[in-house]
């Protein structure tokens, strides 16, 4: 048993006032702890991270919830939250508990450069602001103006990371092929702020969001296409409360509509067994399950097989909630389970639709030395292969 700790109702009230309005709804049944992806992996963190206990500590304002290792372990995958019998907004509670620490200026050391770069450069990847639009080189993409239908908002990861830039380029090609009226404002944009808000830095999130909202509203943006489900989440769920109201969709949603309307065709055959890893922020957080599957199945020759944990039960890659910057020992990474599952299903390609997932799955595939049997691809890349054949 744990040692007895001091109950602090003041701390509880402080956590609740930071946004954890549903904290007291929790009845301590423990379903969350059992459905948590940490139960699927071994290791020290899996031993200590208990999301039910964290809610309890918050309810009682018990010291201990601020243990850095535990507090910043949650990947915000939403598995617990979607199944919670009491509809407790568990992720919001985690965010608020983190905020009580981060708001006081204390951030885990591995996240300090992330926040620093967001402050200085408007992106978490230490990329210079003037290089944000470098990914556009060689592509004929117009700037967004009043006459353009959609703003294409590209995730910071795909602006700066060379591997991830391919995603942005592929999405552009597909949109152009389907004749979509779109433009970009990449050079002037800042990070959507989704992840820093999950990390608990409300102030920094507000700064980023306000700058984007000012930009979007000034340019007359009404509809936004995102490359990342995390940006999709932020624009849809976080921005309206700050005055940013747009019609937002993930590129897969738009493409599947265009496919049905006959405006997008995927002519080239790819005779491969392909499986789809549902990104948490596309699936559980935004309820988009069918669009990516419809697109994959439209590719001639592609055979879609499902992973063991799929759709609303999809297993997180562990890239959310700021965990993309966490050092996790090999053998304890969720992504490894996804790669092993895809190999078990005899898939040739594991496709996903999120730049964070791509990073995590790429790492896992390389770490497990499965690159010779399994290819990790972002969906836009896979679809582009069909375009180019």
């Amino acid at each position: 048993m744990d040692e007895i700790k001091e109950v602090s109702l003041e701390m509880r009230e402080y956590i609740i006032s930071s946004g954890a309005e549903t904290l007291n709804w929790c009845m301590q049944c423990g379903l969350c702890t059992n459905l948590c992806p940490y139960r699927q992996v071994p290791g020290e963190l899996s031993e200590v991270f208990n999301i039910r206990k964290m809610q309890r500590q918050g309810q009682l304002g018990l010291e201990g919830f601020d243990d850095e290792e535990v507090l910043f372990a949650c990947v915000t995958c939403g598995m617990c939250q979607t199944n919670c019998p009491r509809s407790v907004e568990i992720i919001k509670n985690v965010r608020s508990m983190r905020n009580t620490i981060v708001g006081a200026g204390i951030l885990p050391s591995h996240l300090r450069p992330v926040a620093g770069s967001l402050h200085a450069n408007g992106n978490p990847w230490a990329g210079p602001r003037e290089k944000r639009a470098d990914w556009l080189e060689g592509l004929n993409v117009p700037e967004f103006t009043e006459g353009t239908e959609y703003l294409l908002y590209v995730c910071c990861t795909s602006c700066y990371d060379t591997r991830s830039q391919k995603i942005a380029k592929s999405v552009v090609k597909l949109l152009q092929q389907a004749g979509v009226s779109f433009g970009v404002l990449t050079a002037e944009e800042s990070c959507c702020g989704e992840t820093i808000r999950k990390i608990g830095d409300e102030e920094l999130f507000a700064k980023l969001a306000e700058s984007n909202i000012k930009l979007f509203n000034g340019k007359g943006v009404k509809k936004i296409i995102t490359t990342s489900p995390h940006c999709l989440y932020s624009f849809k769920q976080d921005y309206p409360e700050l005055g940013g109201e747009y019609e937002v969709m993930h590129y897969s949603e738009l493409l599947s509509e265009l496919l049905k309307e006959g405006k997008l065709s995927l002519p080239g055959e790819i005779a491969k067994k392909v499986t789809f890893h549902d990104p948490c922020y596309l699936g559980r957080h935004n309820l988009v399950y069918d669009a990516p599957r419809e697109l994959l199945q439209a590719v001639p020759g592609a055979e879609l097989v499902e992973l063991d944990r799929t759709k609303n039960k999809s297993l997180c890659c562990s890239g959310g909630g700021g965990r993309i910057w966490a050092e996790v020992p090999f053998g304890e990474r969720f992504g490894e389970l996804r790669i092993n599952d895809a190999v078990k299903q005899n898939a040739d390609v594991i496709v996903t639709a999120c730049p964070y997932c791509i990073t995590m799955l790429d790492d896992a595939c390389a770490g497990l030395e499965k690159n010779d049997v399994l290819k990790v691809m972002e969906m836009s890349e896979f679809l582009c292969e069909s375009l180019e054949k």
């Binding site: 048993m1 744990d2 009845m27 301590q28 049944c29 423990g30 379903l31 702890t33 059992n34 459905l35 139960r39 208990n50 039910r52 206990k53 979607t82 199944n83 919670c84 019998p85 009491r86 509809s87 609303n312 039960k313």
Partner: protein, 410 residues
């Protein structure tokens, strides 16, 4: 001028009670039941809690009261199509579906022997099969065979007709509709077990040895698919370790937001089935809270000493692909330990959802689908809220009184 007669919809224990009580007070009663027999879900139970007696004797007494009472007219295989009118003056359209078997049937069973077609045994919740012509169960009232039209091969086959010595089978029987004029309606359509497949992390429908509490009643019943032996579905092995998983969909905003109030007692009762069949069996009951209300506390305290009670809502249930054993994962809320227990079989304590299959415009329902009473139309039993049997009986008696008042108000 108000009609003096009363319509009771649903022939389970609630409908039977309302019909009998009203008729014994002098009212003319029509009783309409969708299934081929009266008795409803109670007929599928092995034992009542807390007395652990079989429900058949109570049902038999009710059937005897119906048989002796000329004021009750009952229709099986029938459903309500339309209700017009107001309190005191309703015109109700009843559709009577074909049994394909007439009054000559003696339940000799020759037809079943001859029948080549099969159907899932719904009385046993899909465990095992019956022929397309079958006896619903051995205590069925009325004791007449019935043909499942969707399974029957039709007149081209006709083997049952040839086998029947009494001319009891009419394959060309068809559905008929007729009107009833009544002054009041008691709506007692009962409940359905919540669909356990919807609680997808428990694996019902994927893992063979995950069953539901209503199925457990059939496994324990001597007229059930295993003749009362508690054998698990995958290999017929006697169950030596078992986990009862409480609140499988109940008290859950994603499923049934309410507590059905009977499942804790049902699982404690079913634990006694396992323990009396094999005293050395290891029984787990995983719960959020045990709700054994009122005088049921005694039963709870008595049974809990014999079994392992673990406070904690079960998370995932996984299956060993070789043995088909089940691994139940749960966080023990008293110790904080994450347990992984391997068991032979899991019983999901699924809650009660109202039967709303025959939803009509004239009937009002609450946000969970339970009937809301209105002048002239009264809910009774589990169509109104989740109840145990004895509470349903009391509720239905009071509904009968309200219905009688509607017939004499003007």
């Amino acid at each position: 001028m108000a009609h003096k007669s009363i319509l009771v919809v649903g022939g389970g224990v609630s409908g039977l009670t309302a019909a009998i009580e009203a008729s014994e007070a002098g009212s003319e009663v029509y009783l309409v039941e969708q299934k081929s027999y009266l008795g409803g879900r109670v007929a599928q139970m092995n034992q009542y809690f807390p007395k652990l007696c079989p429900p058949n004797c109570g049902l038999e007494i009710n059937f005897k009261r119906i048989k002796q009472n000329p004021r009750i007219k009952f229709f099986t295989l029938s459903e309500i199509e339309k209700i017009d009118g107001v309190e005191g003056d309703y015109t109700v359209t009843v559709k009577s579906n074909p049994r394909y078997v007439n009054h000559n049937c003696t339940a000799c069973g020759k037809c079943t022997e001859a029948c080549p077609a099969e159907r899932a045994n719904e009385f046993n919740y899909g465990m095992g099969k019956t022929k397309a012509i079958y006896n619903a169960h051995e205590f069925a009232f009325p004791m007449k065979y019935v043909i499942d039209g969707s399974a029957c091969l039709g007149a081209e086959c006709g083997k049952c007709v040839a086998a029947c010595e009494y001319g009891a089978i009419e394959l060309d029987m068809s559905a008929k509709s007729f009107n009833l004029n009544v002054g009041a309606i008691v709506w007692a359509t009962g409940w359905e077990p919540y669909d356990a497949k919807k609680v997808d992390y428990y694996g019902f429908g994927r893992h063979q040895n995950v069953i539901t509490n209503v199925m457990m009643e059939r496994l324990a019943a001597s007229n059930g698919p295993t003749a009362g032996k508690i054998l698990r579905p995958s290999d017929g092995k006697e169950v030596k370790t078992i986990a009862f998983v409480q609140c499988a969909g109940s008290r859950d905003e994603n499923h049934l937001p309410y507590c059905s109030g009977v499942c804790c007692m049902a699982s404690l009762k079913q634990a006694t089935y396992v323990k009396s069949a094999s005293p050395d069996a290891k029984v787990y009951m995983f719960y959020i809270d045990v709700r054994a209300m009122g005088k049921h506390e005694d039963f709870y305290t008595k049974v809990q000493d014999d079994i392992n009670m673990i406070k904690g809502k079960v998370g995932e249930i996984s299956e060993d692909p070789e043995t088909k054993d089940l691994i139940v994962q749960v966080e023990n809320q008293l110790t904080g330990e994450i347990m992984k227990e391997t068991v032979d079989m899991v019983v999901l304590a699924t809650g009660m959802a109202p039967s709303t299959s025959s939803a009509l415009d004239t009937i009002s329902y609450d946000e969970d689908g339970f009937i809301v009473s209105q002048p002239g139309i009264f809910g009774a039993g589990c169509a109104k809220k989740p109840l145990d049997v004895s509470s349903s009986v009391k509720d239905s008696t009071s509904a009968a009184l309200k219905a009688i008042q509607s017939t004499v108000r003007r």
